[in-house]
């Protein structure tokens, strides 16, 4: 990767610094491909997963859990409405076909992306928070800026800010791997092949509960993410995730 042309390096790597209000190369091809594949896959996984949840809308902790046991979350009937499920009318078999097919499109590219982003140092360079950034004063400053809808301009707009870093790291390195591993822990054949899955999550029904909680957190991330894209300028943001090129907002000083 070191001998790649400059244009293939994320702009925040090192100087040469971009012109403050120019076009910068922001997202590399693996990031863009993976982003749009996930944009489709995650929705299909969430919606087919909610249909599967409709089959037994009760969650338990521990190794076992069924109708005579004590759920920590329980609904009557089929709680998830048709507009939120795949397919839209009750069909456990079809939902499983969708879920277990698209699970491959979620998990294999996830592994490839994790490996790639360590090898090309995307993880270390762009996603890992620096020591300075994780200071409470810095995080608090960023929260206040976000709350006032003041977004970074100039050079700062080319780096992920700390709230972005924490949410991307949380999703890529924690939530998505947890989704896959808790999913596997629900498979009786996987539990025989990899018994540590049961020990890791404290049982199949605990794994199922964690799977559901992580799905909820993922949905929350998507809602915040889409809101931020809209607030930060959807054309530039979406465009940069398609072409890789990002129009750098002029810094405040220049604008004035």
């Amino acid at each position: 990767m070191d001998d790649a042309p400059v244009i293939d390096e994320p702009i925040d790597a090192e100087p040469p610094a971009p012109p403050p209000s120019g076009i910068a190369y922001r997202h590399r091809l693996p990031t863009r491909l993976w982003h749009w594949l996930n944009a489709l896959t995650v929705f299909i996984m969430l919606m087919s997963g909610l249909m599967i949840f409709n089959a037994h809308p009760h969650l338990y902790w521990g190794q076992y859990g069924a109708n005579f046991d004590h759920p920590w979350l329980s609904f009557h009937g089929r709680p998830i409405p048709g507009w939120a499920t795949i397919p839209s009318t009750y069909n456990l078999a079809a939902a499983r076909r969708w879920h277990l097919a698209f699970a491959w499109l979620l998990s294999v590219p996830l592994i490839l992306f994790l490996v790639t982003s360590f090898l090309n140092r995307h993880a270390q360079r762009d996603l890992a928070p620096t020591g300075e950034e994780v200071k409470p004063s810095h995080i608090w400053h960023d929260i206040r800026e976000h709350a006032q809808l003041r977004f970074p301009t100039g050079d700062a707009a080319l780096r992920y800010n700390i709230l972005q870093k924490l949410s991307y790291v949380g999703v890529i390195f924690v939530l998505l791997p947890l989704m896959v591993l808790t999913g596997l822990a629900m498979s009786p054949a996987m539990d025989a092949a990899w018994p540590w899955l049961l020990d890791l999550f404290g049982g199949r029904q605990s794994a199922r509960s964690i799977h559901f909680i992580c799905a909820g957190l993922l949905l929350a991330f998507i809602l915040v993410h889409l809101t931020m894209v809209l607030l930060a300028g959807p054309v530039n943001e979406i465009g940069s995730m398609i072409t890789g090129r990002f129009r750098v907002p002029p810094s405040v000083g220049e604008e004035a």
Partner: protein, 248 residues
């Protein structure tokens, strides 16, 4: 720009909601989804030692009540007669591609060497129950019968009916010869209750609940599943499109 935004928004939701249902109705697309079942089975078999054991639990892990599902009492007169006789005349047929077809009286089956295992039953719906099973390892029965080298699948024909169809299930030889695969006659220290499959049911511990055929009357060794009922290897597989390989 508003138009573009609206286009993206309606396009996305339309694609997701209407499109998925339309795709789901396309036989071709369902075929693509179905190919994932073979991929999953091949991958799980690749990473599993052939005899990788399902977790066996402690007595204290047993579910207070083992939930039954599907048929709770087979509704035929014939079964009612057997139940009234406490299954004294129940026999297990073993036939198909075997050198010595068998007809084993239930009493004789219960005197064969048996195995006890505390394992977890996972329903396709999502719930799990842990129970202690007592039964004969299937490989012993198949060994008595002398399985032909042409046999590829073991089919379990059951006494319960859904409408005009008999319940049945099937597994391949990897699972049939697995040390935890039992023809079970007992649950939690008692003879099998009727809702849990009396007098005989299958335990195939690395697959989901609908594979654990209850009320078994006949075991048939076959080279292909094509000629049996709907040809997909099981009642739910034929009628609802559940996966034949239910390892996940």
């Amino acid at each position: 720009m508003i138009n573009r935004r609206r286009f993206i928004a309606t396009g996305t939701s339309g694609l997701l909601l209407g499109g998925c249902d339309r795709l789901n109705n396309s036989a071709q697309f369902r075929g693509v989804l179905r190919s994932a079942e073979k991929l999953t089975m091949a991958s799980q078999r690749l990473i599993s030692p052939r005899d990788a054991l399902a977790r066996e639990f402690r007595e204290s892990d047993i579910s207070p009540i083992f939930r039954s599902n599907g048929t709770r009492v087979p509704g035929t007169d014939e079964y009612a007669q057997h139940a009234a006789e406490q299954f004294a005349n129940w026999r297990l047929q073993v036939d198909g591609l075997v050198t010595h077809p068998l007809s084993i009286p239930l009493r004789a089956l219960r005197t064969l060497p048996h195995k006890t295992q505390i394992t977890r039953h996972d329903c396709v719906e999502g719930w799990s129950a842990i129970g202690k099973w007592h039964g004969v390892q299937l490989w012993r029965i198949l060994q008595h019968a002398g399985l032909s080298t042409r046999a590829k699948y073991i089919v379990f024909h059951c006494a319960d009916r859904f409408g005009d169809k008999n319940y049945y299930e099937s597994i391949d030889l990897v699972d049939a010869f697995h040390p935890q695969t039992l023809i079970a006659w007992g649950l939690n220290g008692h003879l099998l209750p009727i809702p849990n499959g009396a007098p005989l049911r299958l335990r195939v511990e690395r697959q989901l609940g609908y594979k654990q055929a209850k009320y078994i009357q006949r075991i048939e060794a076959v080279a292909s599943l094509a000629g049996i009922q709907g040809g997909k290897g099981g009642y739910w597989e034929d009628n609802v499109d559940y996966e034949w390989y239910a390892g996940i």
